[in-house]
């Protein structure tokens, strides 16, 4: 049985797809963010910034969907191979990842809302996204630019830890932590070590 929802030990399709989609968009946004502010052509830079805004709103939507899904569909238990320290820290790290995936788009939205450039936002040219009700000023714009940068650095650091932990589980501990985020719940429940080990 290929399940859309999570089981006590495995993730369902919905969570797996949301996880990788959000992962790709989130990491892509870091890359796009760095490139767009270093592009010499003002035109290309402008267009990349609009694309960054579009993907930011997509990310916000996906993360809200994921949190809603997760609230109604508990994550599978950690395999027995996960140690006591990680059992305590992993949920905190995952909570922080969710928090940053909300905070980054919101701080970006705040940034464009207070910017004295007053450039409208149209995610993927589809509709006009209203600005947040914040006062426009150079000082606020500087503040939100700084906040967006610091949050981005925190996000990159956390994603790096997340990826390193997943690789450690897969290649060093040889458990199902990474595998179960790739293959969905398939009826046959296994806990702890995968067949590979």
């Amino acid at each position: 049985m290929r399940s859309l929802t999570n089981t006590p030990t495995r993730y369902g399709w919905a969570m797996i797809i949301l996880h990788w989609l959000i992962g790709i968009v989130f990491i892509g946004q870091f890359a796009l963010g760095f490139v767009m502010v270093r592009t010499a052509s003002q035109r290309t830079s402008f267009e990349l910034i609009q694309l960054h805004k579009s993907f930011g709103f997509l990310l916000l939507g996906l993360v809200i969907l994921r949190i809603a899904w997760r609230l109604g569909n508990a994550a599978p238990a950690l395999p027995a191979s996960v140690g006591a320290l990680e059992r305590r820290t992993a949920p905190l790290a995952h909570f922080a990842l969710y928090a940053l995936q909300i905070a980054l788009p919101l701080s970006g939205w705040a940034l464009v809302s207070v910017s004295t450039l007053e450039i409208p936002t149209m995610p993927f040219d589809l509709f006009v996204m209203p600005n947040l009700p914040l006062a426009v000023s150079d000082a606020s714009e500087s503040f939100w630019i700084a906040a967006h940068w610091y949050l981005a650095y925190a996000g990159i650091a956390l994603v790096a830890v997340h990826v390193a932990a997943a690789l450690r589980h897969h290649f060093l501990l040889r458990d199902t932590v990474l595998a179960r985020m790739i293959t969905p719940s398939s009826g046959g429940e296994e806990n702890g070590r995968s067949i590979r080990s």
Binding site: E47, L117, P120
Partner: protein, 191 residues
């Protein structure tokens, strides 16, 4: 009684305006050099979600020649220096001057050369011509209204819409409208 006199005076004044204006255009015949200090070139571009942004060109030059007897043979030449664009926001000005929009370094002039002038009223005319920006030329038309004529100076209020996309300046659409609304006051001095 007073009311009737006032009414008559108002009626007479109404008659007098177009008559005086009609005279004005033929009186206006001659060559004028556009005087930037008495003139202004403003533009506005609508923004998605309402509002828009406006700017001015601070530096421009040109001539207006009004043909004696045949308004249709009148001519208008206008050269705008896009480097002088001003929106009140330095970052937007730099963006507009850059190769994203005007590419002012490689294309220092925007030129309008009239090809025909058609009178549309006592004090109004439609000016058709060729607009060149960023190396591309297209026909454009502007409405001109005589706004004053005295002591060797002439003043026109000129409005028109230009589609920026065909001049290679489509950046920012559809966030910003493709239509640029021009609103100019051109004051010319005889000679």
């Amino acid at each position: 009684m007073h009311a009737r006199i006032l009414g008559l005076a108002a009626f007479a004044a109404c008659l007098a305006v177009p008559a005086a204006a009609a005279v004005a255009l033929s009186d206006a015949a001659g060559s004028y050099t556009i005087n930037p200090s008495g003139s202004s070139i403003r533009f506005t571009i609508g923004k998605a979600g309402g509002g828009g942004f406006d700017g001015t060109f601070g530096r421009f030059k040109g001539t207006i020649r009004i043909d004696n007897g045949d308004v249709g043979r009148s001519k208008v030449d206008l050269t705008i220096y896009p480097e002088s664009v001003g929106t009140g926001q330095g970052r937007i000005d730099a963006f507009l001057r850059s190769d994203a929009v005007f590419d002012a370094t490689n294309n220092p002039e925007i030129q309008f050369r009239s090809t025909s002038v058609t009178r549309t009223g006592d004090t109004t005319a439609l000016v058709t011509g060729r607009l060149t920006a960023r190396g591309r030329t297209f026909p454009e038309k502007f409405s001109a209204e005589l706004d004053g004529l005295k002591g060797g100076t002439i003043k026109f209020h000129v409005t028109g819409k230009v589609l920026r996309s065909r001049y290679g300046m489509d950046v920012g659409t559809p966030l910003y409208s493709n239509v640029v609304n021009f609103d100019m006051t051109l004051m010319g001095r005889r000679g």
